[in-house]
């Protein structure tokens, strides 16, 4: 009877899904896939592409937009992530205790030894990604998530590990504060919140370049890494 019930609900769902798909197709078939829409003078993207290397010193245009031109928006985005993390903590503390009867199967030697070997490399790679956010694909969010994925691996292999929630919260708060502090430096020196006051520092394309962008991305990387690790550890439940 489960099957019949599902089919009974599925037919309108399929119809609505097809309707939405057709609407999207109808709306976007006119957009012109792969056409050069940014080349006209006066478009926002054109303005960014023409001036961002000179203005910010960043080689990566996406980073220049996310951290420099839309830096305030990114501060809000980081705040949303913090809110999700804090909200999860609040919900977890109100939940009934988890079922502890099921003992996990202990992992084999290969898994434990391999995890100990790979975890430092994953953290190193995540740090590389967020330190080089202004030069190569990636940035603070991506690097932070890579670090958290390494700690998720550790948590899966060693389920007894208790995440240091206080240390995670501390590094998260310090990273968030330094992001806001960098913004206030811009306000004090340049007169604009999050103004990239030392954008001329260094040569574009080198590690020391793009002014405050790498510093902001390092702060975001640490913050996202700590927050995501906390999220994943809370999801495991039990002691969280």
């Amino acid at each position: 009877m489960m099957e019949r019930y599902d089919i009974h609900r599925s037919i309108p769902a399929i119809l609505l899904a097809l309707l939405v798909a057709a609407t999207i197709f109808y709306a976007f078939v006119e957009v012109g896939f792969g056409e050069a829409k940014v080349d006209e003078e006066g478009s926002v993207s054109n303005r960014f592409i023409s001036n961002s290397t000179q203005e910010t010193g960043s080689s990566n245009f996406v980073t220049a937009v996310v951290v420099n031109y839309r830096g305030f928006d990114t501060l809000g985005e980081v705040t949303v992530l913090f809110l999700a993390s804090a909200g999860m903590g609040a919900i977890v503390s109100a939940l009934p205790a988890g079922d502890k009867r099921k003992r996990p199967i202990p992992p084999s030697l290969i898994l434990t030894a391999g995890t100990r070997l790979v975890l430092p490399l994953i953290i190193l790679f995540g740090s590389y990604v967020f330190v080089h956010g202004h030069l190569s694909p990636g940035g603070g969010f991506q690097g932070g998530v890579i670090i958290a994925s390494g700690l998720l691996l550790y948590l899966v292999i060693f389920p007894e590990w208790k995440a240091p929630h206080k240390a995670l919260a501390l590094s998260e708060s310090l990273a968030g504060l330094s992001f806001a502090g960098i913004g206030i430096i811009g306000l004090a020196v340049g007169g604009i919140f999050l103004d990239n006051v030392i954008s001329g520092l260094g040569e574009a394309g080198m590690l020391v370049s793009a002014g405050l962008i790498p510093l902001i991305y390092i702060a975001i990387g640490i913050k996202v890494g700590a927050e995501m690790t906390g999220l994943v550890a809370r999801m495991k439940g039990g002691d969280a």
Binding site: A13, V31, K37, V38, I49, V92
Partner: protein, 129 residues
Amino acid sequence: MEVTELVVYGSILLLAAVGIWGILSRRNLIKLILSLTILQTAVNLLLVSVGYISGRSAPIVNGDTGLDGSPIGEIVDPLPQALVLTAIVIGLATTAIALIVAVGYYRSTGTLELKSWSYGPSNEKEVKK
């Protein structure tokens, strides 16, 4: 219509349809959240595809384009990619909250099926079982 366009738009439409169908017809919480994430992926893919320009490279300047000259005409539109980066992070936050609510539902009811939260003529019988 080129092959690339067909493949990209086809996968977007497929993902959107699967996501909406899953949200409307599934009653397992994990499957619901999964459908929501699939729908988000479709929207993100759609936004990135709007900024795609055929034959151009990623929006990063390197030795080929030169750091002094303007790279206009050689890279794709960076703005949709930056917006999608924001959208992905917000999607992650909502997914995390949804998952922890699912954990709470499981702990208090012992199941992930939304049995009583549904409508339709066969609802009454389902609940009584």
